[in-house]
């Protein structure tokens, strides 16, 4: 079921789902949507399973010509989207018809927008996932970002009986001042003297910020005397904050699996969405939480998501 043609791909638009976790021990990065919350809500708004494949678009969005009637939802960054030049409301479902042109522009707030269609985007499942991994050239559309002229299809799925919208109290506000919560470790002992600086400084997001990682700039944090700058390479997870010898933090994200630099702290999983929406030039601060607090936040988030899911699917 062909559903839209790409008239303009935007600056970086890929097909993503919840990621490819079966081969991370073979060096295949998880990939997947960087903002899991926004992607999940986009899917729920059109009645999809939470992990259906969506479009993830970065900074400047695509122009899409629809080839058939379908429900869509746009969430995440506000890209001043229009359908046939009329503003499109975000964080809610809309019905588009054949010939409609959806245009996503430059992000006004946030960095990444998600677009879900009824049924989910239909690309082949590769190694257990539809997520695009550029480095491995797999998933999505031929393992690459969208380009002009691409035609994407969708999987079968029922149209909504009634439009859905996310109540405003659940819509995240994207501020240029970002606070993310993080637990110390796995190698915080190498920074006994720098830990306080790290958790009290304000860092700037540099232009080197992508799905591999976000490089930050600010007060450098150095290793204590006697601790090596690098460690024996080991598995990394999204959210690990590396500190190379220059003392400038790098937040590792979803396109890598191993690393050899010491990691002072790790951003908690629920707050990775905030990093996904942080733009170069934004200010970012790490707020320390204990592991117990982090798990409390994780459980609350799970309850919240359940609540939203019930709310959206019962709104008839």
């Amino acid at each position: 079921m062909d559903i839209f043609r790409v008239t303009s791909p935007g600056s970086f638009t890929t097909v993503q789902d919840r990621g490819r976790y079966s081969f991370i021990d073979r060096g295949v990065p998880p990939s997947g949507t960087l903002d899991l919350f926004a992607a999940r809500i986009a899917n729920l708004l059109v009645g999809n399973p939470a992990g259906a494949a969506v479009l993830e678009t970065t900074m400047t969005g695509p122009v899409l010509e629809f080839l058939d009637e379908v429900d869509i939802a746009i969430t995440g960054a506000d890209m001043a989207s229009t359908v046939n030049r009329e503003p499109v409301p975000v964080w809610r479902s809309i019905r588009v018809k054949e010939g409609d042109v959806i245009r996503l522009r430059q992000a006004k707030s946030g960095c990444r927008a998600y677009l879900a269609v009824t049924g989910g985007i239909d690309v082949p499942v590769v190694m257990g996932s539809r997520a695009t991994c550029i480095q491995a050239k797999i998933g999505g559309l031929e393992g690459r970002p969208l380009k002009k002229g691409d035609v994407l299809a969708r999987l079968p799925g029922a149209f909504l009986a009634k439009p859905r919208r996310l109540p405003v109290e659940f819509i995240p506000a994207y501020s240029p001042d970002v606070v993310v919560r993080a637990v110390a470790g796995p190698q915080d002992e190498a920074f006994a003297s720098g830990l306080e600086t790290f958790f009290s400084s304000v860092y700037e997001v540099t232009p080197e910020a992508d799905r591999m990682g976000y490089r930050l700039k600010g007060t450098p944090v150095y290793h204590d005397k006697g601790f090596p700058r690098s460690i024996i390479s080991e598995p990394t997870v999204p959210g690990n904050v590396q500190l190379p010898a220059d003392g400038q933090p790098i937040i590792l994200l979803v396109e890598q699996t191993t690393g050899g630099y010491t990691k002072i702290a790790t951003v908690i999983s629920t707050d990775l969405s905030k990093i996904a929406q942080a733009m170069p030039g934004n200010r970012l601060r790490f707020q320390q939480v204990t592991l117990e607090e982090a798990h409390g936040i994780y459980r609350e988030q799970a309850v919240l998501l359940k609540q939203i899911e019930t709310l959206l699917s019962s709104a008839r």
Binding site: Q135, P186, S233, E234, V237, T257, L291, H295
Partner: protein, 234 residues
């Protein structure tokens, strides 16, 4: 000071992962423990554990915080630890990798020979004489961190990395040797190329090896290289 720990040490890597560490040294004895624990865990994945990723001296466990906790995992690990000596770790599988050394596919082999004070033939003989343990796979799909490179052929990286190394390139960098499974930039001294597809995403098992296996490089002629290459592309 480098150590082998008496008991595994747990490191917190965010709210969904722990690292289980057996030492702070690259050492076959430490890696044996990593292999043994990986085998045990994968054979009977504990509740709430989503992935087990072995590395040189530690392994990473991804877990669901709604289903388990680091405390639970630690007590389970200590329980398993007591049984570790009973575990029969399967003998390391030897994976043969055919390599066409030198020439167009191994443009730096003479650099390695010159640096080592050896002939090209000696470099090949030394490089193919060891079964290299795979300590970890990472960096790119299927990229192996191998141990055991003979000191005589340790060679520094190229001063200028190449922008594009074709997938299959086999190289040396300092004390490391390995293969680039997919096209990527790289600064290693390239001594040959394998005709095997080291990453074949469309196959049910896209990889020929996993951490714990051993890599044996086998020198082949251009004819054999071409034949395997044809079979692999078919």
């Amino acid at each position: 000071m480098s150590h082998i720990y008496d008991k595994p040490r747990i490191r917190i890597s965010g709210d969904r992962a722990i690292l289980v560490e057996y030492g702070d040294v690259i050492d076959p004895a430490v890696n044996e423990k990593v292999r043994a624990m990986t085998t045990l865990l994968k054979g009977n994945l504990p509740e709430g554990v989503e992935a087990v990723i072995p590395a040189y001296r530690n392994l990473s466990l991804l877990y669901d915080p709604l289903a388990t906790s680091p405390e639970k995992l630690l007590s389970l690990l200590l329980e398993l630890e007591a049984r570790l000596h009973e575990v029969k770790i399967p003998a390391a599988r030897i994976v043969e990798i055919p390599v066409l050394y030198g020439g167009e596919f191994g443009p730096d082999i003479e650099v390695v020979a010159e640096h080592s004070g050896l002939t090209v033939e000696q470099v090949i003989a030394i490089h193919t004489a060891t079964d290299y343990p795979i300590y970890m796979i990472g960096f790119t799909p299927g990229f192996c961190y191998l141990g055991g490179l003979d000191k005589r052929i340790h060679t520094p990286r190229r001063k200028t990395p190449r922008m594009l190394l074709p997938g299959g390139s086999v190289g040396i960098a300092e004390a490391q040797t390995g293969m680039y499974p997919v096209d990527s930039p790289g600064g290693w001294q390239i001594i040959g190329r394998t005709p095997l597809r080291l990453f074949a995403p469309e196959r049910e098992n896209p990889f020929l090896y996993e951490a714990g296996d051993r890599i044996r490089f086998v020198p082949v002629t251009a004819d054999v290289y071409d034949r395997i290459h044809r079979e692999e592309s078919a």
